[in-house]
Amino acid sequence: MTKLNVLTIAQAREKLRAGEITSVELTEACLKAADDAKTLNAVVHATPEIALEQAKAADARLAAGDAPDLCGIPLGIKDLFCTKGVASQAASGILEGFKPEYESTVTSQLFDAGAVMIGKLNMDEFAMGSSNETSVYGNVINPWRRDNDETALTPGGSSGGSASAVAADLCLAATGTDTGGSIRQPAAFVGITGLKPTYGRVSRWGIVAFASSLDQAGPMTKSVRDCAIMLGAMAGHDPKDSTSADLAVPDFEAMLTGDIKGQTIGIPKEYRMDGMPEEIEALWAEGRAMLEDAGATIVDISLPHTKYALPAYYVVAPAEASSNLARYDGVRYGHRAKLSHGDGITEMYEKTRAEGFGDEVKRRIMIGTYVLSAGFYDAYYNRARRVRALIKKDFEDAFEAGVDAILTPATPSAAFELGQEFDDPVQMYLNDVFTVTVNLAGLPGIAVPAGLDKQGLPLGLQLIGKPWEEGALMNVAQAIEDRAGFVSKPSKWW
């Protein structure tokens, strides 16, 4: 019998409902796998007691015939989500010891649907990073290695723990969040599927805020179908998040017919970057051929302001972060610095924040402070917001012209080595070049694994859809998944 932890949500759901396995057995398999995978550093706060309690409750629901899709399914939860009574630190030293008295809307919806939490997952501090190297818990290791090479690779970031945990089968799926590519880039780096929903589809309440106009939570799973199942449980209107949309949540899974005949897929010429590896270019061409094979019409399109997305992002996101992270002042929760005699409240703030935040977070808070400061607000922040409006309009024009979805590479490279020293912070930012436009425009985007590079590392394609049409978008992703036949798994070395 295959190990239970390698199952997809859809497979496990069937076995659970048929009574072939119990949630307790499934959960124990995941907890064991997680325990054996400490080297990966993906799970940072294991919650076996909670998991087993939830699993028992799920088994009772299954026995009673009251079993929603996620009933009894073990999930990993990114450390950015507040989980009641369980450490929720956003991988930051400043939230050391913080145990929320409340449950985020997403996790409470997942738990109401019967999901089981195996633990909290590692990430970049406050979701700021693309390699999971800014975490107070230390780096996450990608379960994938290059052929005949033991170099430790990044799982990407910021949802690196989620990516690594799902790829290594420590849980059946995980929650992620995506502000500039933090679900899609790590998903691509570990060969799994990751969806960033339309802004407003999933409640942000109880998720530690980074950049509120860009943040969106989404599923990271082993298949497109699992993405559809999990999004259904995460999505929906929440009165506690004023930006959450009051729209009905469709049955996403029912929309996965794999039939995309007659749809029009756009290929944006601006995503063909100078110096892009040939393998990425080749994968993109293969994706195009797969969609043609599925009966879609492929058209070349232009999104003229693409080039300005990253610079606009690196104004808007730090600006919002500097405001959101002002709350970490050593008064209400988390770390407070030891004060010297005579220190007043200003010294308390300054020392607390200097000790609690890591370098990248400090850098972004200060950049944000600068671009919002008197005399620079118009030149930086307002200009970036104007450019953002143009980026959004590029997409609107493409959709207006009849494009149903847009195909691009997910990342400009495969997973890279951990521990590379970049003397220029901008070099790390370039990881998000293909994903960040989607956040600025508030659109849904999905990364699907589509192949391996010549060193045996997974590569992903990205599809971008119309607002609120995650179902149609996942259906296009399904057409890719069906044709790519990506079944590779990292060979277990940990």
Partner: protein, 95 residues
């Protein structure tokens, strides 16, 4: 435009993050690299373009103005580094 050490010091102060003098030059250099990257935005013609305020056009929901939550002083204070007699405690603010 270039950020000097003095500007870096001022920004750190505004952000309420203590930065040692010795670290200011490196910080200023980081700012210059990031802001240098952002300078590209000046190439874009934004004449007549309204700054984006909301991601999706939506009217904020309204609700009756009434108390819907509260009475949880213990929970509110449970994570405080220093809480006394039902209050958050901080160093003396006013002389």
């Amino acid at each position: 435009m270039s950020i000097d050490t003095e500007t870096a010091r001022r920004v750190a102060k505004l952000a309420r993050i203590k930065v040692e003098d010795a670290d200011l030059p490196a910080l200023a250099q980081d700012f210059n690299r990031i802001l240098g990257f952002v300078e590209q935005l000046n190439e874009v013609d934004v004449e007549g373009v309204e700054p984006m305020t909301s991601v999706t056009p939506m009217r904020l929901k309204r609700r009756v103005d009434e108390v819907t939550d509260g009475g949880q002083q213990d929970k509110v204070l449970s994570n405080a580094p220093d809480a006394r007699e039902g209050f958050f405690a901080v160093p003396k603010v006013v002389e």
